[in-house]
Structure formats: structure tokens, C-alpha cells
Symmetry: C2
Subunit: 551 residues, 2 copies
């Protein structure tokens, strides 16, 4: 249709009205309210008032005459999405409109999750999209603090829209030339920030930090016992892995999946701030060796999930060097601090690691998913994982096939996670990430200063948090006079869940809670959302106190 109605004026944007968009109507019934032209570039999109109730998926491209309904359908979707984006940043909008599973399953008014044999009209599809957003959670809302990943970065969002439109796959240069190169350049930049000479090394983007951590264990095993690749774990002695009791559970999951067994994942004791005690690592290495086990791998966490603790990497690296162990740094959460001149010292020693996990989708605000595993030794990922599938990785292509990176992965097809991140880096510059990170840490410190001596609050650990994690109990008035003991513990354990439930029911804010070790349920506040301000921190505290008044 675009070619049938060439536009005439200075801009090609215009508006059409067409309430009965049947096959004939699409061709004949259009009135150009505004018709524009901009001859040195592609035609701009045109907005039509379209009746989607008689249109179906089959009427869209590649259908004959499908172009106009396709564009109109996509624009209608964009209308829904841009309204969602605006409201997400509007503090008068709720963070969520909570419903129980059975309520959503029974079907809300006009919103039925069941699938059927027959197609729905595009009008219903658009309604379904609105409802999907309505009953979801606004993770970009300035008062959403529930997860390490929060915020809605506009550049990253645009990048994801482009990525899904390009709809390609990372396995070969052949079908993802630009994205493969972007990944390569970005990984090199990240390795430079880690401090590896000239940014040399290896790496790949993976579907999340758990998989990145799994990679680190796999390549450590391959480095020391390459025969396991062909002969299995029985070709190796009893191997043990070390990680902090505060570390992410994905190290244990990797131990289970890769055939080490969770019993061979040895948990290290931490100080009161949740940081590994290096002497405990060394003691446990010696103990394992005395039992005849073979220590293989140490994970140092840079930014633990709950406390935001940074293990002392340099001291751990000394021990790893002494005993010839693989040192992995899980910086899924804390890696972003490498972008900050003020805070990167918390990862001092990371340049001594053999591998590093770093999730830009957490502290750096990149949309989900975006996680990198970075490796100091070049070629080891391919050595560990390559299977040389002839149908994908032909050696006789006309281009330099060293850019076909798919065989390094444990995946075959691999989603394009790089573009949004690359685009954000272009758009913000390194200094933009730095400013974001510094601001989030400042906000956390604001919260810490606000509550550390405030009536009704107890901090889970003393001192300024290392990351944006602020962990605290709120003690409702009824518990304040109660003596320490099991009764108070039990009552306090139930406070955070109750407040959280009220928050979700009222939809005003969201923050996480959990127990840790022998500590009963406490709130874990984290800030990674660029939309959050001091007023949102104040709001959170006010909400907690308001809701807990009668507990």
C-alpha cells in the first residue's frame, strides 16, 4: 500500500482513518488526513484507525496486501507499549495489581489464558497484550526494589526491539555478522576493565549468571583434567570445589549437574559481613587434600546476593596460586562496579582470576538477559566445548571462520544478548554506567544512614554496605519491648512476610526478604533501578512503618 499511495509532503508521517478495514476497504477506503514525504529516506510509518475485530494473524505479512495491517498492528502494539513505559515511570501508577494464581487461571474479565484450536481476532490479541501488562509487575517502576535486576532502560529496550526484529542467532558470523563482532569487541572491553593485559582472553554471553558460573566450573575441569571431556568424571580423582556459604546457589547447581556432586562443593565460612575468611579456605583445602580429594576450583563472590559482600579476591588468589587452583570470580551482581573509579577497588585482585562472571543485566541496568563469562586463557572455551558439527561450522567458507564462535558454547542456537548492551554502552559511554552505579551506591548509603539508628530498625550486619544491599529487620512496636529469645525470633520471622504480602496487595512497592543461616526473615533492599530517588527510599520506609503499625 505504501507504494500505491506515495506521500507528497515534507515528512512522511500522516494519519489515516479507516474503520472498516476489510480487503476492499484496505485498498479503497483510506483517507489521508495528512500525507507527507521525505524523499531521501525510507517512508515514515502511517497511522490508520484500523478495525482489528475482523483481522487475523493470517491477514498480516506475508499475506497478500498484508503490509498495511501489519504496520497498523505493530503500531497499535507500540501504542500499548509506550503507554506502559510512560506509566512505569509515573509514581502514581501501582507497581503491581496483585492476583492469586487461581484468580488469573479462572480468567479475569476478558482475559482468558487458555489456548484453543481456532484463532482469535487481532483485536482480542491486542486486548490480551494489554491485560498481560496489566496483571504483570512493573519491574522498571521507581519503587520496585525486589530483584537485583530492575529498571527499564530506554536504550536497552529499543535495542531489544531491534534484536527481536532481526531475529537471528549467534552461532555463526554467516547469519549474525554484526552481532558476532559486537560481542567480540564488547567482551574485549570487559576483559580490559577486569585488567587482563590488552583485554586478551576468551568469553561468551550466556543465558544468565547460573550458566556463566557453570561454564567456569566446566573449563576449570577441562584445564586440569581435559580427559574428562572424552572419558567422563571417572577419569579424574575426586574433585572438590570451594565457594562461600553466602555464594549464589548456582555453584552448587553446577556441581550437581556436571557430575561433581553437591557434597564436593565445600562451603566456606564468612565473617559477619558475609565475606569469605581466607584462612578457612586454606584450612579446607588442606583438609580435602588430606582426605585424598583434589581441590580444583575456588569461587570468590564479588557482590553476594543477600549481603552484597565482596570476598577478598587478592587473599583468595594468593591461596589459589599456592595450591594451583582455578580462581573464578562470580561478579554477576558486583561486576558492574568495575565501571566505577570510586568503587572498583572492591574487586581488587579480579585481574588474577582465571574466569569472571559478570551480568550487565543486573547492576548495569541492561534488559534481561545479558550475562557474560570471561576467561583469561584464550581458546579454552572452544577446547572444552567444541564438537565440530559439520553442518554449522564448515571450514571451507569464504570468510575467516574463526569468527564462527558457536562451537565454544554449550548451547547450539544462542539468543542475541549483545546488541542492547552494546547500544547502551554507545549511548551512555563508560561514564554513563559509572554515574549510574555511583548513584545507586549513594542511594543505598542514604538508606543505610537513614535507618541505622532509627527506632524500630536493626541492621543485619554492621557498617556501610559494600554494595547496594541494605539488610535490616523492621521491629514492629509490639515487639520492641520483648526480650531476645525464641518467641521474639519466631514473631520477628513472620514480620517481613506479612509486610511483603501487604505491599503486594496494595501494590505500592516491592522489596525482597529472606532468612539467612540462623537469622530470621529480614528485608534485603537493593538499588539498581536508575529511576529510584531518595524520595522513593523515603517512601519505602514510610510504607513499611505504615503497614507494620498493627503487627
Amino acid at each position: 500500500l505504501m507504494s500505491k499511495f506515495p506521500s507528497k509532503n515534507i515528512s512522511d508521517r500522516f494519519l489515516q482513518k479507516n474503520n472498516s478495514l476489510d480487503e476492499k476497504g484496505r485498498l479503497a477506503g483510506q483517507k489521508n488526513l495528512l500525507s507527507c514525504d521525505n524523499s531521501d529516506r525510507d517512508a515514515r510509518f502511517r497511522l490508520t484507525e484500523t478495525d482489528f475485530s475482523n483481522l487475523f494473524a493470517r491477514d498480516l505479512l506475508p499475506a497478500k496486501n498484508g503490509e498495511e495491517p501489519t504496520i497498523q498492528f505493530l503500531l497499535e502494539m507500540v501504542d500499548i507499549l509506550t503507554n506502559y513505559v510512560k506509566k512505569t515511570f509515573d509514581r502514581s501508577t501501582k507497581v503491581l495489581d496483585f492476583h492469586h494464581p487461581h484468580q488469573l487461571l479462572e480468567g479475569m474479565e476478558g482475559f482468558n489464558l487458555e489456548l484453543s484450536d481456532q484463532p482469535e481476532s487481532l483485536e482480542q490479541i491486542l486486548v490480551d497484550c494489554r491485560d498481560t501488562l496489566k496483571y504483570g509487575v512493573r519491574t522498571g517502576h521507581p519503587r520496585f526494589f525486589n530483584q537485583l535486576s530492575s529498571g527499564l532502560d530506554i536504550i536497552g529496550l529499543a535495542g531489544e526491539w531491534l534484536t527481536s526484529t532481526a531475529n537471528t542467532n549467534m552461532f555463526t558470523y554467516e547469519i549474525a555478522p554484526v552481532f558476532v563482532l559486537m560481542e567480540q569487541l564488547t567482551l574485549k572491553k570487559m576483559r580490559e576493565m577486569i585488567g587482563w593485559p590488552d583485554g586478551e582472553g576468551d568469553g561468551i554471553f550466556s543465558p544468565g549468571g547460573a550458566i556463566s558460573n557453570m561454564y567456569s566450573v566446566m573449563i576449570a575441569r577441562y584445564k586440569y583434567f581435559p580427559e574428562v571431556k572424552t572419558k567422563g568424571m571417572s577419569a579424574a580423582p575426586r574433585l572438590v570445589l570451594f565457594t562461600s556459604e553466602h555464594s549464589h546457589y548456582s555453584i552448587k547447581k553446577a556441581g550437581a549437574a556436571l557430575g561433581f556432586g553437591t557434597e564436593n562443593v565445600i562451603l566456606l565460612s564468612t565473617d559477619e559481613r558475609g565475606r569469605v575468611i581466607p584462612a578457612d579456605l586454606e584450612a579446607k583445602i588442606i583438609d580435602a587434600k588430606q582426605k585424598g580429594y583434589v581441590p580444583l576450583f575456588v569461587n570468590a563472590t564479588a557482590g553476594s546476593t543477600v549481603y552484597g559482600a565482596f570476598d577478598p579476591i587478592n587473599e583468595i588468589a594468593d591461596i589459589c596460586e599456592k595450591y594451583n587452583l582455578w580462581l573464578h570470580v562470580d561478579g554477576a551482581w558486583g561486576g558492574g562496579l568495575l565501571m566505577s573509579r570510586k568503587h572498583r577497588h572492591k574487586l581488587n585482585g579480579v585481574e588474577r582470576a582465571n574466569s569472571v562472571t559478570w551480568n550487565p543485566h543486573k547492576m548495569m541496568g541492561v534488559p534481561l538477559q545479558c550475562s557474560a563469562i570471561l576467561v583469561r586463557e584464550k581458546g579454552i572455551l572452544a577446547g572444552c566445548n567444541s564438537m565440530c558439527a559439520g553442518y554449522l561450522f564448515q571450514p571451507d567458507k569464504q570468510y575467516d571462520v574463526t569468527y564462527d564462535t558457536g562451537d565454544k558454547a554449550i548451547q547450539c542456537g544462542r539468543h542475541v544478548d549483545i546488541f542492547k548492551f552494546w547500544l547502551m554502552w554507545k549511548a551512555k559511554g563508560t561514564i554513563g554506567f559509572e554515574q549510574h552505579i555511583d548513584k545507586c551506591l549513594d542511594l543505598s548509603q542514604y538508606l543505610y544512614n537513614k535507618i541505622k539508628n532509627r527506632e524500630g530498625y536493626e541492621m543485619v550486619f554492621d557498617g556501610v554496605p559494600q554494595h547496594t544491599n541494605v539488610c535490616f529487620w523492621y521491629i514492629p512496636p509490639s515487639l520492641r519491648g520483648m526480650p531476645a529469645g525464641e518467641e521474639r525470633r519466631e514473631k520477628l520471622h513472620r514480620v517481613a512476610p506479612k509486610i511483603k504480602a501487604m505491599m503486594m496487595e496494595s501494590g505500592t512497592t516491592m522489596v525482597g526478604y529472606q532468612p539467612q543461616g540462623n537469622k530470621v526473615n529480614f528485608f534485603r533492599m537493593v538499588v539498581s533501578n536508575p529511576a529510584a530517588t531518595q524520595s522513593d527510599i523515603d517512601f519505602l520506609i514510610d510504607e513499611i512503618e505504615r503497614m507494620a503499625r498493627d503487627l
Copy 2:
């Protein structure tokens, strides 16, 4: 700004012009060329001619007065994307504009992949987005046949745009209530189509077929040797896995990663069509047992990567039952045929499998990534993978926490892959998928009929292909008189790469090639693109013959 300029007329769509969008200009310099209103719904988006050369990421939301530039920036991106979509379906557009890695790395005119400390203007960002698409590959183009995943489904695309706008994570109902339920319902529907009673069982969407296959091996091991989870592979005897020599390399990758070792992945012989010979499976099971190994797992491929072969599942299932082995069906490519009443018989016996991999992002045209692992036994995924992380999976939430499915996964964070698929199913109905699949198989048969007796073509295997894979050699005129032998083999081996290189340089079409076993390079044509027609098949054949004229 939307609130400062409330709209007045019947529709809220209008157009504004504002060439100098500085802070003042945004507030004062706007002229409403059309201003509309639709009071019972959200305000429609407004199009402004915006100067992005002085705007930066920091001017977008959550910045003060960031709403208007945010919407304009997103609309500008949508303009780029909708133009890309239109051209993708336009056969006068090239499939790709090929450049070598060093060319793109050196920087094309105005397109520089390097990242820097300082931010780029939004104008440059938009240019970068146009260039990213320009130098990429149009995987939705009607003449892109290079991969099992092709096509650009508009509903799926809209679904991905929404998914990235919602930007949440699948681990808990708490932050993905709608998506978690959609996943549950869709997995149940898929299990019903497999034929498991009442669609009961388990499953999860994973980041691709390789990971889904890895899950199947993990859960098989957990089923028979649950102690491996805690004690590692040394707690089990020497376990062996069986899969066809034509099967996907991910089974071997899983064997390597999970600690079995690739030598314990035993390859099964196939008939001339690439289908497993059941007697060979039984012989190899007996052989393994005689050596003292323990057969654990058999993978039957439903739709092999190169030949599109379907292993005889029922006969394999008989053997698995006899020897008490886990039967996995890798239907990453062929699973979609379950949606077709005409073709689903090719998977007869799949209901006897213990687990099934099925990638809607392949034959069903769902955008990347969308892969499911489906399991007949309920609860086994959680048993195998759960680590009960307190900070995510609190038992004391106010809702039914059995909907918190994250602990079943080997991932922690998990991308929302379900929505686009659910939305496509709603929009097309089961019959829409069926029509798509039947059409693709018809097109393949059209190609097969066209070339099977055509001069210059040799089929790699005889008979009508089972899936859309048509494998053939093109014999250039200069080789047609040559006697069989090593010289002809060597020359023929170089034909497909040369034609492919010419295709890519000219950008007119793309199709894959590879060797297989002792067969020299041949073309593997596959059809999964809903935009492809008979004329595109004809075009491909014409192109091959045109390019090979002088070889």
C-alpha cells in the same frame, strides 16, 4: 508533556513538528498539527519531528521532562523497524549485504563498532541501529533458507516487543505472574499433543534445544542414580548414552559437560535415510552390558538436523522398555509436526518417551529463543535441580508457592520465552500452526519433485523426505561427464561452498551445505519460513544453476 497538552478530538493521534528540541523547545516550541482525544482509553502516541543530535540517553526517562524525548526516540526506532519489516518481505530487497569481518571491524562509513568512554547522541544511536540492520542478514526474507529457524512472524515479533518492555524474569510467580501461568498452560497443551494422559507431567522452557537435551540427560541420571546429585558421578557405575550418528551434537556436548564423557555417548548406525536401525541399538546395548557398562539413556531424533529423519520411536521404545532405559525424543526440529494431523504420525510412539525436546522457534516460526523440555514424570525436574535458595523461594509467601518454578531450572534468572509463543498460539490457533507446517512440507515436496530427475542434480538419499529437509548435490556441467572417483569427489566437494559464497556475495538467497559421513559437501534445503512460496523455490534453483554455470 502529555499531561501539559491534553488532547481534544476524537482520536488522540496527532502530529507535531519541532525541529529544535532543546529543553525550552520541548515545552514551548510545539505545534499540534492534529490533536485528538479518545477519553475512555490511554492517550495515543504523538509523533514529533525531533532533532536527536543534541539529545542523549541521559535525557530520556527517568530524566526530568524525559517522557516526550523517550516516546519520540522509541517511535523513531519503530519507524526504522517497521521499514525493516516491510523490506524483509519484499523480494526486491537483498537477503544480506555481505562484508568480511575485517571490513566491518575497520568501520564502514559512519558505522563504528568501537565503544568509548563518552556517550553518543541519540541521532548517532539511531544511525547505528539502521546500520546494524543494514549489515545484518534478513532471516525473515522469503529466500532465506539457511537455518532451521527462519521467517519473521509478526505476532511473535509483537510478543517479543512486549516481553522486552515487561522485562521480567521467570523464576517466581511474584514477579512474573502472568508469564508463569502461560508457561504452565502451554506446557500442558504441548504434553497433551505428545499424548501423555491429561497432559500431565513436567517441563520448562530453556534457552535452546541443546540445553533442553542436556536437561533430558540430567533427569535420566537423576531418575536412575539420584545419589549422583550429591555424590557425583563416582557414585554411579560407568553409564552410557545412545544416540544416532545423525543426531544433534548437543547430546555429545551434554555427555561431555555432565561428566559422562563423549566416549560413553555411543553412536547408532542409521539406514540410508538417516534413521536409527533399532537392531543396532539393541546390539550396542548388549555389547555395553557385556563390557560392564550401564546403559542409561537413548535419544531418538524426531527430525534430524541434516536429513530431517525421524527415528522409529516405537521400535526404540520397545527396546528401552525391555532394558529399562530412559527414552528421550529430540524433537527440536520435528516436534512441530505434532501440530499437523497429516504429519504427526512420523512421531508415532512419542507418547512412550520419558522426555521430549521441542523447539517452537524452529518449525513453528516462533522468534528465537523458544525451546521446551517436556517430561512425563511430574516433580522430577525439581528433584533433580532444586537447591532451595532462601532468598528467592520463600515458603512463607501469601500465594501458592508451587507456582514458583525457578528451582526446577539449571538457570536462576530465566528469560521470558513463553509470551510470544502463547500469543502466536492465541492468534493462529492450533489450526494455524497446522496450516503453516503442512504448507512448508508441501513446498519441500515441490522442490523434491522438481529436482529429483532434473539434469545436474543428485539426491543425497532416495525417496520423499520425511521433513522439509531436501539434500542434494548440484553437479556443474563440467563435472557431469566425469567418472566417479576421488577426483570427482574432491571437485564436487568444492562446488557447494563456491555457490554458497557467490550467493552470499550477491545477497540473493541463502541455503546451507555440509558434508555428512563420507558424503562430500551437499546442499541442505529446509523450509520453515511462512513467507516462502513455490516461486522462491524456483528462484533458488535458478540461482544455483546461474552461479554454477562456469564452475
